[in-house]
């Protein structure tokens, strides 16, 4: 028999391949050339340094939102509120970036910390209500998303600015933008990428290398057993949601301090959080998996923008992504096929 570790690697890879094949079949059915379609996608993501830069810009918040969702999943919680936590993190980071005047060594960490705290607070609410009143975390998180959306808009309009639709740019001392990366790639590439990787590392470290992380995972596996072993289940639920929210908040900071340098009024969601669910699922809820999932996701999304140059509507990529997630979800059937083919081979 195959080891489960083997499956954890093989099944996502097979799913991605199957998803891409399905996308090719759809292109054929609608009379497009799948090779030129995928070539356009590849060029749109890595064709030159500019596109590569933009792809990494897209990947950066995905890593963190994916990590946020994955972290909560590992504790048995579904944080569908990453979207709202991204919003408040974005706002907090920009607010600190605009309002304060400090040397960079203080300002930038403070702005990122503010984002983490804001996201953590936003995550605290569903976590606390779940632990204290057994309220379903999904519903509270969904509500918190809307509250974040409207509150952030109102704060931008009437607190940070005077009825403007976007804030000023953050001070240079709080910006993640880098001159030489910009000159190298002409894209909006910024140092946030490194922070995202650090975030993924932190998730791995907390969950795998600390006692608290062990407790969190244990609660995710079996609440009753954890309670019996003397762990405080309620406190771990809250903690997990706060940490998850903090990751999501930093994802917002990447947008605010890196990609855009400002925050504007939003009429709807950015989907960074919802896409983070897909990223986490694709990565099997692990840190490394989330990084890889974010890369795949970001590449597909940015590359898709170039697909119309081959005549293919860019929405094809959304279908491919959906199918990949389906295949990952249906790992049972892939496993079944793998095992059967192995038996027959003997």
């Amino acid at each position: 028999m195959f080891a489960s570790r083997f499956y954890n690697i093989v099944i996502p890879v097979i799913s991605v391949i199957l998803g891409l094949i399905a996308g090719a079949i759809i292109m054929l059915l609608f009379g497009y050339n799948p090779i030129s379609g995928y070539a356009a996608l590849w060029n749109g993501a890595f064709g030159d340094l500019y596109f590569t830069g933009e792809t990494i810009v897209k990947v950066t918040p995905y890593i963190l939102s994916g990590v946020a969702v994955a972290f909560a999943f590992r504790t048995g919680l579904f944080n569908i509120g990453v979207e709202g936590q991204v919003f408040v993190g974005w706002l907090a980071a920009v607010w600190v970036g605009v309002a304060l005047d400090l040397p960079m060594i203080l300002h930038l960490p403070l702005a990122i910390l503010a984002a983490a705290v804001a996201g953590g607070l936003w995550g605290f609410v569903p976590g606390f209500l779940k632990a204290k009143f057994r309220v379903h975390e999904v519903i509270v998180s969904i509500m918190m998303n809307y509250i974040a959306l409207y509150t952030c808009n109102a704060i931008i309009r009437s607190v940070i600015t005077d009825n403007e639709d976007k804030t000023e740019n953050v001070a240079e001392s709080a910006s993640l933008a880098s001159e030489w990366l910009t000159q190298l790639t002409f894209s909006r590439l910024h140092y946030g990428f490194l922070i995202a990787l650090i975030g993924a590392f932190l998730m791995w470290f907390i969950l795998e290398k600390t006692t608290k992380g062990y407790e969190l995972r244990s609660v995710g596996f079996n609440q009753n057993a954890s309670k019996y072993a003397g762990m405080n289940v309620d406190r771990n639920i809250v903690l997990s949601f706060v940490i998850s929210g903090a990751f999501a908040g930093v994802a917002g900071a990447m947008q605010g301090l890196g990609t855009f340098q400002f925050m504007s009024v939003n009429s709807g969601f950015t989907n960074i959080g919802f896409d983070g669910i897909a990223v986490a699922l694709l990565g099997g809820n692990t840190a490394l998996g989330s990084v890889l999932g974010a890369f795949l996701f970001g590449t597909l999304k940015v590359g898709a923008l170039n697909m119309p140059s081959a005549g293919v509507p860019k929405e094809l990529v959304d279908i491919v992504v959906a199918l990949i997630i389906f295949f990952v979800a249906s790992s049972y059937i892939i496993r079944w096929f793998l095992q059967r083919s192995k038996k027959e081979g003997k």
């Binding site: 509270v140 409207y150 969601f269 389906f326 790992s331």
Partner: protein, 341 residues
């Protein structure tokens, strides 16, 4: 402005906003009662809205010309059919097509989560992505742009015969959309089906204890397929009604979060059809407050943001405070594997 005038502007708006949520939340009840989590309600609404708009745009012309044909050149024995206003039936035909297509579309979720034993949350998330991807791909393919045109044959409000003439209550409750009344009636019908029929008992039993149901000769997989497909039909209906009463066209932003609100309404309503309807009506009421607030003296000076977030804050408070904990169906989220304990 008297209290009655205020109610007369708030209540129709509340029912108007609530109707799509009621349909979709009822769909969620079917699916989750059978033991299958349905995060994909959003996607089902997207599919319903897309199909309804496209079929409305496509069929409005042909149905209209059917009217002309009956009026002018139909053979004598068919001329009585001329009474039917086929053109005005367009939105009804459109929602029926949307129901059917969405039910078929939800098969994807059913196959993945029942037969392939997929993680139901993952599969639901995938359903959301798939619906948006497929519909926008096809919109681009068929119309060559990111969104469709506005439909010319949406639903219109209509006075309900006799009932709308009742003083005070009439204008409040009986001058809205036909679809809203259907939503409320359906909620009662679904309640009856789930709690008063053998089918409903079986549906609930496979969601609570599939092994016991299986022992009693109930086909667990079949019940779950039915549950998911009913959620597809109802979700599609919700999306279609949203599209043909509120949005009027289809783009990437037509359905943005309504499915999740319906999911919330279902959980808020404790997986009970009437509870889900009540929660949806509450969301509709809160939403209507922020829309009509400018005409209400008491609310005129309240900053818009408080009214916008009010429904969500109130929901959280209600859940934490006096609604108490709600327990999902016991077997929810777990695939049933014959022979396992």
């Amino acid at each position: 402005m008297g209290i009655i005038d205020i109610l007369q502007s708030i209540i129709p708006a509340a029912i108007f906003f609530a109707a799509p949520l009621i349909f979709t939340a009822l769909g969620g009840v079917f699916s989750e009662r059978s033991g299958v989590v349905n995060i994909g309600l959003e996607g089902l609404m997207v599919m319903g809205a897309f199909v309804a708009i496209v079929s409305n745009l496509t069929l409005a012309g042909p149905l209209q010309s059917l009217d002309v044909w009956f009026d002018q050149s139909a053979p004598g024995f068919l001329s009585w059919l001329g009474i039917i206003q086929f053109g005005n039936l367009t939105p009804w035909v459109a929602i029926i097509i949307a129901i059917i297509i969405s039910a078929i579309f939800s098969l994807v979720h059913a196959v993945a989560s029942v037969s392939f034993r997929a993680d139901q949350v993952v599969s639901g998330v995938a359903l959301n992505f798939l619906a948006l991807g497929v519909s926008l791909f096809l919109v681009n393919q068929w119309y060559g742009k990111g969104q469709t045109d506005m439909v010319e044959k949406p639903f219109y409000t209509a006075d309900l015969w006799l009932l709308s003439d009742i003083p005070v209550i009439g204008p409040m409750f009986f001058t809205g959309y036909r679809t809203s009344y259907i939503a409320i009636l359906l909620a009662f019908l679904v309640w009856f089906i789930i709690y008063k029929t053998p089918f409903g008992l079986r549906l609930r039993s496979v969601g609570e204890h599939p092994m016991a149901s299986d022992t009693n000769g109930i086909n667990v997989s079949r019940m779950r397929y039915i549950g998911v497909m009913l959620s597809g039909a109802f979700g599609g209906l919700g999306g279609a009604v949203y599209a043909l009463t509120i949005a009027m066209n289809f783009s990437h932003a037509t359905i943005s979060g309504q499915g999740f609100m319906a999911l919330a309404a279902m959980i808020f309503g404790k997986w009970h059809p009437l509870g889900a309807m009540g929660a949806a009506l509450f969301f509709g009421f809160a939403q209507s407050l922020s829309v009509v607030s400018s005409t209400i003296p008491l609310l005129q000076n309240v900053p818009q943001v408080y009214l916008l977030i009010a429904p969500y804050v109130l929901t959280i408070l209600a859940l934490a405070g006096f609604i108490g904990r709600a327990d999902a169906p016991k077997a929810i989220g777990t695939p049933y594997i014959k022979g396992s304990r």
